[in-house]
């Protein structure tokens, strides 16, 4: 089974020992992002990934955001004025009632070649979201080359066919450029715990989603050690 799946993979995926980096262009497939119910670190990271890895179509970005009822209730709906400006006009929001409907909408979404990417949000571990369902989504996404980011809020990382699996938690933001008391450019702590052809690892990622840095793209923050020192350093003069 494993060999079968490996044989389906495109060759460009790496030789199994590669370190993941934001600049690595992987073939479009489905990534699973595990996150918490109480923050949107995973959503923001998915948008950052999409802006980095997916190409806009002829009329700008066209994308789909599918939410099931529980995720709408717990984490709200996307807010137009907080989305990255290029992504604002071309997105379609789908509010599916059940997880089954959400999965169906995601599958229909990745089947549409005019979309750049699809974000799907599911809370918990519904019964319909089993290995087979995820495998279906992976195959549909790979066949049409439409990226699918499946956000799992409070989900348990069962057996899954997703190509890359991330566990994302919020991290203290970077220092604000002018206001040391204010939250700065957002950062997340992302753990790649399963990546086909990639070495698992932990990353501190900084992305410009929702901040006022227009050209800020996804990058790996090398180290966080000297960051808390800075306000104290300034305070002492």
């Amino acid at each position: 089974m494993d060999a079968l799946r490996a044989s389906e993979l495109p060759v460009a995926l790496g030789n199994g020992a590669d370190e993941w980096s934001p600049d690595l262009q992987l073939p479009h497939s489905m990534w699973e992002i595990f996150g918490s119910m109480d923050d949107v670190a995973g959503d923001a990271l998915a948008l950052a990934f999409a802006q980095k890895h997916c190409a806009a179509g002829g009329e700008g970005w066209r994308w789909l955001w599918v939410q099931d009822a529980r995720s709408t209730r717990s984490s709200g709906r996307p807010f137009l004025h907080g989305l990255p400006p290029p992504l604002r006009s071309g997105f379609i929001h789908v509010e599916a009632g059940s997880a089954a409907d959400a999965l169906w909408a995601m599958e229909e979404g990745v089947r549409c070649g005019e979309l750049s990417f699809v974000i799907g949000e599911i809370v918990g571990d519904p019964k319909v979201l089993d290995f087979t369902a995820i495998r279906r989504l992976v195959l549909a996404a790979e066949r049409n080359g439409v990226m699918l980011y499946l956000l799992r809020r409070e989900g348990f990382a069962n057996l899954s066919a997703a190509r890359l699996r991330w566990r994302v938690t919020a991290a203290p933001s970077a220092l604000h450029r002018w206001n040391s008391m204010a939250p700065g450019v957002p950062r997340v702590r992302a753990e790649l715990f399963r990546g086909r052809g990639l070495r698992p690892g932990q990353f501190w990622l900084e992305h410009g989603v929702g901040s006022h840095e227009p050209d800020h793209s996804l990058l790996v923050v090398p180290d966080l050690r000297d960051r808390p020192v800075e306000p104290d350093y300034r305070a002492t003069g």
Binding site: F91, C112, G113
Partner: protein, 508 residues
Amino acid sequence: MWFPTFAIDRWSRITAQQGEEDDLRQPIVLVSDTAHGPVIDAVSRMAMAAGAQSGMRLADARMLAPELVAIPFDHEGNQRTLGKLALATQRWGPWSMVDGYDGILLDSSGSAHLFGGDGPMLTRIETFFLRQGYQCRIACAPNSGAAWALSHYAENRSAITMPDDLPEALAPLPVAALRLNSETRLLLARLGLKTVGDLMEVPRESLVRRFRNRRSAEANPLVRLDQVLGRKHEPLVPLIEHPPFGAERRLAEPILHLEPLQHIVGDITHDLMRILEQAKHGVRRLSLRLWRVDGEDMYRTLELASPSRDPDHIIRLFVQRLDDVEAGFGIDQIRLTAIWTEPLDGAQDTLDKLDTSGTALPVLIDRLVTRLGRDRVAQFVPRSSHWPERSQRVAAPGKTSAAVQYDLGFNQRPLKLLARAEPISVIYATPEGLPRRFRWRGGLHVIVKAEGPERIAPEWWRQRANARLRDYYRIEDEAGRRYWIYRNGLIGDGRGGPPDWYLHGFFA
């Protein structure tokens, strides 16, 4: 055909249909607003008895009869009803047209003998309209101008078939029967020409000389006279009905099962798409009507995001909607009607077209809307409002809207917004400042970084007077989670108790 009290008749008919008979016993005037206040357009019989006349200002009429009930005049509805009546009259003649605000012209040449001649046909038409509740004065003449004059001004109902009889019939009518404007009517009155007969006796040369500068027909009595007597042709524009595209199947054997039903729906969809292809139209809204043997009927409607005539796409959407059809003793008639169509030409594929695989976006939207419902698939559009909940609205997906103004970006906005802000219990707070810690969903959050306040005042032109302002803070807790919280109101703003705190949005 002339309907002297068309507006009032239509209003009475509608009121009676709604079962409000008490209104019919009041003196009704129909008014429309003008620059000089409401003006009466039509009066009911009771109002006329009380002294109101059409053309009066409502204020003047109220002085005569204070008990008048004024109701707005429905110009558009009247015109629409008149159009429908005109189409209905095509049962007596090949074509008809709407004439002004209260008349219908019908060309009955060659068809009167089917109804027993002109006289019986007129009786029949009049009874038809009377039964519908419309007073109708009707006349028949060799040309439309004469028919108009006779219907409006003749003493009795007249049916004239020979052009030679026209001068005799028209002579006693007043000159207003020639459809002249008020200025010309006044002029003719000053000249002492009161009836059409007077005008006919005037030598033609002097009329030509007197009105040589008047080009428009309604200002030139000679042109009108020629039209009425049939010496001059008057072009008319017939009303043509465009029946909606449709396809139908009647079944000899009623069907009870889903599978043959799907098959037949597929067949008639193919039929309809073939019709549409010939007409170069694409369908936007479809209605499927199923009749059962016992006379019950069922509807299924379908709306598409963009005009289409792809049968496979439409069949696929319909098949999902057919699961809950109750066949009962069987379905024996099926009709598919394209309620709303748009012109759709064949499109040429370009060679340099991007090779996109999979379904097209409109198809995707149709599928999502059909399965999940129209209110669940949306596109967000900004709306001019400061209030965060109001600053975006949902629109039907698929339409690329014109250039829109987004938030100006002075302040950062959260990535996601809760539909309803959740209250947070503040554990420690300076009275005016921001809380140091708060409890939300059972977890304790210590605020490490904060930016604010950003004060968003209620929109007084929209909200209630006691709506409280909000002081928004962008905060980050010790774990790095970033939230948008606000204090609802100020201490001592006189709009409720001490202000409470809410969590409204999530920052990236």
